[in-house]
Symmetry: D2
Subunit: 134 residues, 4 copies
Amino acid sequence: MYISETTIRVRYAETDRMGYVYYGNYAQYYEVGRVEALRQLGMSYKGLEDSGIILPVMDYSVKFLKPAFYDDLLTIKTIVPEIPRVRIKFLYEVYNETGDKLNEGETTLVFINQKSNKPCAAPVEFMNNIGKYF
Amino acid sequence: MYISETTIRVRYAETDRMGYVYYGNYAQYYEVGRVEALRQLGMSYKGLEDSGIILPVMDYSVKFLKPAFYDDLLTIKTIVPEIPRVRIKFLYEVYNETGDKLNEGETTLVFINQKSNKPCAAPVEFMNNIGKYF
Amino acid sequence: MYISETTIRVRYAETDRMGYVYYGNYAQYYEVGRVEALRQLGMSYKGLEDSGIILPVMDYSVKFLKPAFYDDLLTIKTIVPEIPRVRIKFLYEVYNETGDKLNEGETTLVFINQKSNKPCAAPVEFMNNIGKYF
Amino acid sequence: MYISETTIRVRYAETDRMGYVYYGNYAQYYEVGRVEALRQLGMSYKGLEDSGIILPVMDYSVKFLKPAFYDDLLTIKTIVPEIPRVRIKFLYEVYNETGDKLNEGETTLVFINQKSNKPCAAPVEFMNNIGKYF
């Protein structure tokens, strides 16, 4: 299991008239969570794409427990629970500054070779980096 | 069961560098789907909020089958599968112009009395309007 | 001068905790305004891009007079005030349902040949279509 | 003159199919710039709002020089060029990691008393904090 944390400050743009972070914006926070999780492993999601592999999201779910508010400094905990193969699963937990869990979610992404537009195995370097955690 | 359809044209802003609609933007499309579903029933989501009831999203999930692209004219099919009580569930299906199903999702929202900040029953008028379909 | 109108319904996602449409979202509304202005001329902005010409925005300004609110049905008036050459200028005016002017803005875009990454003249077909209005 | 800097990492969600940061997203980056500028002065924009004063944007302009790309670590330089009164002007400059200036912009915001919905003077504490720089 690989666990990583990053923080995000809620922008005004991300709130809605209810005063909450709009429910659709957590997809961006989760994106930041998984990209920083990879960076902390010494890998770049951008580098992966530049090498011809894209990682579209296949499914996404989120369970909302409490709202986040403007200017909250959120902690995004990102977990890779199992060794990736053609697919990679990420779990997410979002906490506010007082330690309340605000929501938890999950995405599955698939490694796609951009030339063939077909699923492919995760790159060897990626597997070497993340493999240590399993 | 209540079924409704609305269309959305994909904006440039909603695409990402992969050329796809960013996976996080479907939450907005689904929002438009459920708001227009209510409007077609003669009800206004805004009116509901103005009357002191908010409807935060409790959970949200989506399964992506195919990407949507810039300028696609999407059809959002919104379904209320069961009679709402304190909660209301919406199912969504998104189709492109050639009839391909691009994704399907689901949200559960809860009726909250804004003064007490507690769950409450759906308003009588709302139930009268939607009740005919069940 | 070429003038075109389109309507946009304000999404919940586009509001902020002040209850206003977030000031940054008008860039999207203006984008919809100019794309629909072209479509009403029988032209597709997507088609333009597919033919190898991109139109990045060089400058953008907006003056806010009154806020727009959730669920407002806005009219975006888009004006091409002068004959385009390598650059094309668009003016925008946004009105709510009671006819109040909410804001007015302006963008300049430049025709770029995607292969050479250099400015180029507007395509002949485009000039023929829009030329009638000048 | 008061000058402040903050950094922002470009999110995937913020790119468009051209591969650029969508032109409309700089409004959010500028928002982050001015909020962090205030925070570095020991002030909270949220606190200001909680005290009953909102700061809607009256005008906004931006001149784009070069695009920003996915995963770029941008520096937002935010400048308050003159002593605020009922209005406050912010200037912005955005740089990428190689030091290229990507765009520059400007916003004017107005202090509004939320109860009366009328313009008001900037709060005394705010003026004391920022006054030292002029």
